[in-house]
């Protein structure tokens, strides 16, 4: 029976009781508890169900490596699945619920899987569920999905907020045990700026539990003074509840801070994700104890020896009244001694080694504990909890020598250094025979851009399991890191620790060594995913010899603990099955993060309104207040149309078009890209960028230009205005502004870096208003301040001047076929000018129009739209824009590509106008069908719709499209396929793409 002890618990504040619920039941713990320790204190050993067999499971570990005790936490917008009870600090009001069972934790129907487990070995699902074929989707898969999956899915929007933080440091030290403290101290004393992070809420790691002596003080006292010393250093920053999550190229590290997970008060950010740039990283991440593989080692009550010790010493909790310790090393004897000291019974220590003669075993014997050497556990007795152990010879096949009653088992298979962060960025490992673990190989470290190592591992993580060695190693690591960061290493001495001499451990990968099939099918390697020794052996037998194959076939190490407990044991079993040495089998790849980090933290502040913030033109608020139906265009919102109360969207569009053609329309054109290109080589540069000749453009004039990609495809268009001898203003499409600016810079920086050209994206510096329609000039004249007559400002000219007191630049250009002026004004004067235009235009019925009106107006004139008529496969020649391609230039981007055989093939799809015979609007995206099918059985096509609208001007549907040999087929009627599934076609006539004012008279007035 697990219970709270009357005394002990170094992390507890026993005076402060904390109330929480588990599966709806109200329980109480103590300030300082973890959820796991509080549950144990309440007699709750059963904490969850395994993934595959739904086996009853208790807590195994006391830290981040816990595979079993995963909980649904909280509720509503603060619900979170799969939180480890061992790392969740208890707070008042915490709500926890166990996972992966139905109807309840105690009685789980899914446990039937466990009884038929012999029919469900590793990978069984690859060999069955294949017939009848539809059954996979409709029967087997839903069943598998339902029984897998662990925690519940959150339902509500996250109630918490998250943030990102950034820090540059000389040295990042990960891990706040005695090694981390020592390394940080050495770095700090050397003058380096140091960030020291510790994943738990307290400093010192295992040392206070293990009982080392440092600099003549007890571990606890030394830790306190070390922290005080570090806190006094201005160049050292310390953070608890902060985990090193990942190490990436160039000393970039992700560090994950949990701010409110341990508090009742959830105000403020929940997590903070630190992005650290460190000159050097020291990982002092300790080691994790390995389980032993004996039959029924997954019963609730079987725990790591170190965890048992932690619960007794740190939390004053007994994992059981009678605990059998089983081990292959000296360290586990500390657990026996700690239990004894707490007044609990230890009926026996089973040591798989043939002798146990060191100081710790002797101390155990002196404490009256029975020590049996050369022995192991044949089987743990009990169905849902430990009731006893059957003892056998480790060297045998499991013949039972004796049975001992107990209610807990503390096991230790040795320790594995935590090498994750070292490995994330390519650090390699060596196998250490003495410790039977992988340790970092300093000669194959992660290296930075200069080829030097940027990660050093310190202490236990570096394979130094004894405190004295770990501290000496960490001191050197701290000095080396400071030195790597350009500081002179401190000459102060390392702290000196003493610890008991330990006898060598003996690797034990299976207990007993000669266990038969029946036992091996009950030896768990990966608790959460239910992978057993027999599964790994099966994988090896079936040829899954690569460690990655074994992992993927059996799912070993793929659970939420990512194999922290199971990987080395699994590797050893695999190596044994293959008769290979463990290092030859190798490890699987360590991937970030070290333990799972919240998606919320990854996203940080950038959510909701802050996720890709909207770009707003100076007129945005006016649009909003005047019925704008918004359309996202790039990062902008543009009004699609302005709806009057009670008006349908399509009616609003028609009204705007009609008003513009008849009298006066106004368009917010501010989002159009405006890129200034300036310098002595500006003309030469633009000649390369555009298909047209731009260097010959006269100052004061505008020219419509086309830009192609290297592959010859049309990528953007716009009007270029020559401002001065060495300056051009290039207009781009709204969506293209940033892309085209980057395109320009790429060519300038990578190909023509010696050309004297600068570019600047001025898009947001100006508001730009298109004043369009027969009365456009009148309204500008009313505003007064400059001459915009045909003579002074002819079509395709521009002029600086003033309008209604605003300094403006007026471009006489048109995308509607109407008399049109685009007026640019400083952004902060945009709204004032807009208001004045509306005022002055009132007598002409001035009508603001949106993007849809813009589209229809241009389509009526047969003007192409980038993204409609083009899609990355269309060359200007396809669009009848050959006139905009200079024949005089030697080169421009895309020229060579356009000379390839398919590009110059006369049989291409080319731009035409399209009119349905019945006057209706052609469906968007429809294809024109040809005769028959191609060699792959697909219907032959001969064209497609690129733009299709209802034209209020012509009172019929109009469309543009690309049709095979289209310009040579004027008047021909072809069939466009509809999508109604009946095979009906829309009869459509090929016409000239200019539907309105073919002579272009309206814009030249």
């Amino acid at each position: 029976m697990t219970t709270r002890l009357a005394t002990g618990g170094r992390l507890l504040d026993r005076g402060r009781s904390v109330s929480f619920t588990f599966n709806g039941k109200r329980l109480s713990g103590v300030e300082g508890d973890t959820l796991a320790s509080a549950l144990l204190a309440n007699g709750q050993m059963l904490m969850g169900r395994s993934f595959k067999y739904h086996r009853p499971r208790g807590v195994v570990a006391s830290g981040a490596e816990e595979p079993n005790a995963l909980m649904n936490l909280g509720s509503g917008g603060r619900f979170e699945p799969n939180q480890r009870a061992t790392t969740q600090e208890l707070f008042d009001g915490l709500e926890a619920a166990s996972q992966n069972h139905w109807p309840s934790l105690e009685f789980d129907i899914g446990a039937v899987n466990s009884h038929v487990s012999r029919f469900l070995p590793a990978g069984f699902y690859y060999k069955t569920f294949m017939a009848p074929r539809p059954a996979w989707k409709h029967v087997f898969e839903p069943f598998i999905r339902q029984s897998a999956g662990l925690g519940r899915a959150p339902k509500e929007r996250d109630a918490d907020v998250y943030e990102h933080a950034y820090l540059h440091v000389d040295v990042l030290v990960v891990g706040g045990g005695v090694a981390g403290l020592t390394a940080a101290r050495a770095g700090g004393l050397s003058g380096a700026s140091v960030l020291l992070v510790e994943q738990t809420g307290h400093w010192g790691g295992r040392a206070p539990v293990d009982g080392a002596e440092i600099d003549g003080q007890g571990a606890e006292d030394w830790i306190a003074s070390a922290v005080t010393e570090l806190e006094a250093m201005p160049n050292v920053r310390l953070q608890t509840r902060t985990m090193g999550a990942g190490v990436y190229d160039h000393g970039y590290a992700l560090v994950y801070e949990r701010l409110t997970d341990h508090l009742s008060d959830k105000t403020g950010p929940r997590h903070r994700l630190w992005k650290i740039r460190a000159r050097h990283i020291v990982t002092a991440t300790g080691a994790i104890e390995r389980p032993l593989s004996f039959a029924a080692n997954d019963l609730p009550g079987v725990m790591l020896a170190s965890a048992v010790r932690d619960y007794v010493v740190n939390y004053g909790v007994s994992p059981g009244d009678r605990t059998v310790v089983v081990t292959n090393n000296d360290d586990a004897y500390r657990t026996a001694l700690a239990l004894k000291e707490a007044g609990l019974e230890v009926p026996a220590i089973l040591d798989a080694r043939l002798e146990a003669t060191g100081a710790l075993p002797e101390a155990a014997r002196a404490a009256g504990i029975r020590v049996l050497t050369g022995r192991g556990i044949a089987k743990v007795k009990g169905r849902r909890a430990v009731e006893g152990v059957a003892i056998c010879a480790q060297a045998g096949e499991g013949a039972v020598l004796e049975e001992i009653k107990c209610d807990a088992v503390a096991m230790s298979g040795g320790w594995s250094p935590v090498v994750h962060l070292w490995s994330h960025c390519g650090g390699k490992l060596n196998w250490d025979d003495a410790g039977a673990f992988f340790r970092p190989d300093p000669s194959r470290a992660p290296t930075g851009a200069d080829g030097t190592a940027f990660v050093t591992v310190a202490g236990t993580a570096n394979g130094h399991l004894l405190t004295a060695e770990a501290i000496a190693d960490a001191h050197e690591a701290g000095k080396a890191a400071a030195k790597a960061a350009g500081h002179t290493a401190t000459r102060k001495a390392a702290p000196k620790a003493t610890s008991e001499v330990e006898a060598p451990m003996a690797p034990v990968w299976m207990m007993p060594q000669g266990a038969g099939a029946a036992l091996r099918q009950k030896m768990w390697l990966d608790y959460q995913n239910d992978v057993k020794v027999s599964d790994v052996q099966l994988a090896a037998r079936e040829g899954f010899e690569s460690v990655e194959h074994t992992k993927r076939y059996t799912t070993l190490g793929m659970a939420t603990d990512q194999g922290k407990l199971s990987n080395i044991n699994g590797l050893a079993i695999l190596a044994g099955s293959l008769n290979a040495a463990i290092p030859q089998v190798g490890t699987t790849t360590f991937r970030p993060p070290y333990t799972p980090i919240s998606m919320g933290a990854i996203a940080g502040e950038a959510r909701g309104e802050l996720f890709q913030p909207l770009r707003r033109t100076p007129l945005h608020d006016w649009h909003e207040a005047n019925g704008a139906v918004w359309e996202p265009v790039g990062a902008w919102r543009r009004p699609y149309t302005y709806r009057k109360p009670g008006e349908a969207t399509e009616d609003a569009v028609a009204r705007e078009i009609t008003a513009t053609r008849a009298s006066l329309g106004l368009l917010d054109a501010s989002t159009l890209g405006k890129i200034l290109v300036k310098g002595p080589d500006a003309g030469r540069f633009l000649d390369m960028l555009y298909t047209n000749m731009m260097s010959s453009l006269a100052i004061g004039k505008c020219r419509y230009g086309l830009m192609c990609s290297e592959n010859g495809f049309l990528m953007d268009d716009g009007v270029v205005a020559r401002l001065s001898d060495d300056a051009f203003l290039c207009h781009t499409t709204t969506g293209g502004a940033d892309r085209i600016h980057a395109h320009m810079e790429e060519w300038l920086q990578t190909e023509w870096w010696d050309w004297k050209v600068y570019t600047a994206n001025l898009t947001e510096q100006y508001a730009q208003i298109a004043v369009v329609g027969p009365n456009a000039r009148k309204v500008l004249d009313k505003l007064g301040g400059m001459d915009v007559s045909k003579e002074t400002l002819p079509f395709m000219a521009w002029a600086d001047g003033a309008l209604a007191g605003h300094a403006v630049r007026v471009f006489r250009i048109s995308f509607s076929g109407e008399l049109s002026f685009e007026v640019a004004v400083k952004a902060n004067e945009g709204r004032a000018l807009w208001d004045k235009l509306l005022d002055a235009g009132a007598e002409f019925g001035a009508t603001p129009y949106g993007t849809e009106g813009l589209h229809v107006l241009r389509a009526e004139k047969g003007f192409i739209m980038i993204g409609d008529e083009t899609d990355g496969t269309v060359i200007p020649q396809d669009l009848g824009l050959g006139w905009a391609i200079s024949k005089k230039k030697d080169d421009y981007i895309g020229k060579r590509a356009q000379e390839r055989s398919h590009m110059t093939d006369p049989a291409r799809w080319k731009l035409v106008g399209l009119e349905t015979v019945d006057g209706t609007v052609l469906p968007d995206g429809a294809y024109a069908v040809g005769d028959g099918v191609n060699e792959n059985g697909q219907r032959v096509t001969q064209g497609r719709v690129t733009s299709t609208y209802y034209s209020p001007t012509l009172a019929r549907g109009i469309a543009m499209g690309l049709v095979l040999d289209g310009p040579d087929r004027m008047g021909e009627v072809i069939d466009f396929a509809s999508l109604d599934g009946t095979g009906t076609v829309v009869k459509t006539k090929i016409v000239d793409p200019v539907f309105f004012d073919k002579a272009g008279e309206k814009q030249n007035v």
Partner: protein
């Protein structure tokens, strides 16, 4: 090859599963083969399989530098769909999708093809038009797709937020017969079937050179000796440029790392695959319960198969906007795979300047879904010198400007 079945499992259960054979043999390389395939990923193994199955060519070796299925086959996000825009793409991906439907039965290996449906969200007017166009094209290509309303999207994906502040869901392109499969099992299933036909799958055998006589291939040099062949298929996504270099020609390929991640497993909450191309993220839920998330490719050329963080951050942000509940989930693991990118984002299945050498590469970010179709077409190309499914994807198209650009309908193609 002993057949897999529920009965076989029951029989083996009674003898503690000691009677299972190796899934594939582990032979020593022979002196020569009719055909050598370099690369035992999905595409390479499928090529070998269909050479045997469709053309009776079984004197075949598949050489693998590491472990079979260890490249992009074992790193992708397992999406299968064929709702492509251009005719050649739709043809090969639809062939592939239809082969996936019966692949478990064909291989006698459950690759867990799950035709759960794929939605590509339209979140801009431009995407709306693009997907309507794709739906029109698919109808003529014999690919069953449908443009659906936001209401229908919500019915299919209850956890989606239609009204994100930035990119509201305006509709979607729905392919009900798209879905996912178990990626490793595809490689394993093909490997087992190839091995059963007597082909040699040779792992830990790195090709170090391509030997030629005149303009014709004669074999390869490897870390396990020289091996002769009449025909050589290079099927090594992520390393195509290296192998082409050994054979003496160059490829229009850039290699970049594509990023992906999974969450911790949770109970079923999303039954279909959702792709949000405007915000560059896609997500499905594996049978284990993990949310499998794919994002963008790194912006620089690279051969390092490692996760980097900046794209993960962008992808997760985008998906939290689309699926707010995932904010409370945790990222379990992130990784990267090296993808071959061509100029038009379509693959290369082609003869090469070296007689007898064929190449299959350039699948970019979407190769998994193509494995059976790609193998089918590549086998035909290698056996007959031409294949209607492959011919449009020849290397010559770059010289001719005959691009097959799929970025047309989607910002990213997966």
């Amino acid at each position: 090859m002993k057949r897999y079945s529920a009965f076989a499992i029951a029989r083996e259960a009674l003898r503690n599963h000691t009677g299972w054979d190796r899934a594939w043999a582990s032979p020593e390389p022979k002196k020569r083969y009719d055909v050598i395939i370099v690369g035992a990923g999905g595409h390479g193994l499928a090529t070998a399989y269909y050479l045997g199955k469709n053309f009776g060519i079984t004197n075949v070796a598949v050489l693998e530098k590491g472990w079979l299925g260890g490249g992009n086959t074992g790193r992708n996000t397992t999406i299968i769909r064929s709702n492509y825009l251009q005719d050649p793409s739709a043809a090969i991906y639809e062939k592939s999708r239809s082969l996936y439907e019966t692949l478990s039965q064909d291989l006698n290996y459950n690759i867990m093809f799950s035709p759960r449906g794929v939605i590509m969200l339209a979140q801009t007017e431009h995407e709306v038009r693009g997907y309507k166009r794709t739906a029109h094209a698919n109808a003529l290509q014999g690919v069953k797709t449908e443009y659906i309303t936001p209401k229908r999207v919500k019915e299919l994906v209850p956890i989606i937020a239609l009204d994100g502040p930035r990119y509201p869901v305006l509709g979607g392109l729905w392919q009900a017969r798209g879905g996912t499969a178990r990626h490793d099992a595809v490689a394993w299933g093909y490997a087992r079937a190839c091995s059963a036909m007597g082909m040699d799958i040779i792992q830990r055998c790195e090709v170090t050179g391509v030997t030629r006589d005149g303009g014709k291939v004669t074999g390869v040099t490897t870390t396990r000796g020289d091996i002769g062949c009449d025909k050589l298929g290079i099927v090594v996504a992520g390393h195509s440029g290296h192998l082409a270099d050994m054979a003496g020609f160059r490829l229009p390929i850039e290699s970049v790392a594509l990023q992906a991640l999974v969450s911790e497993p949770i109970k079923p909450c999303m039954d279909v695959v959702v792709m949000a191309n405007t915000v560059h993220g896609y997500m499905s839920q594996s049978d284990k319960g993990e949310m499998v998330i794919g994002g963008g490719a790194d912006g620089y050329n690279n051969y390092t198969q490692r996760g980097s963080f900046h794209h993960i951050e962008e992808t997760v942000r985008a998906l939290i906007e689309t699926f707010p509940m995932i904010s409370r989930l945790k990222m379990l693991r992130q990784w990267g795979g090296i993808v071959d990118m061509t100029g038009d984002r379509s693959p290369i299945l082609s003869k090469t300047p070296v007689d007898g050498v064929f190449i299959n590469c350039g699948w970019g970010t979407g190769g998994f879904k193509a494995i059976p179709g790609s193998g089918w077409a590549m086998a035909e190309l290698m056996a007959k010198g031409t294949s209607p499914l492959a011919d449009a994807f020849s290397l010559g198209r770059f010289r001719e400007g005959r691009f097959i650009d799929e970025s047309v309908a989607a910002g990213v193609a997966h």
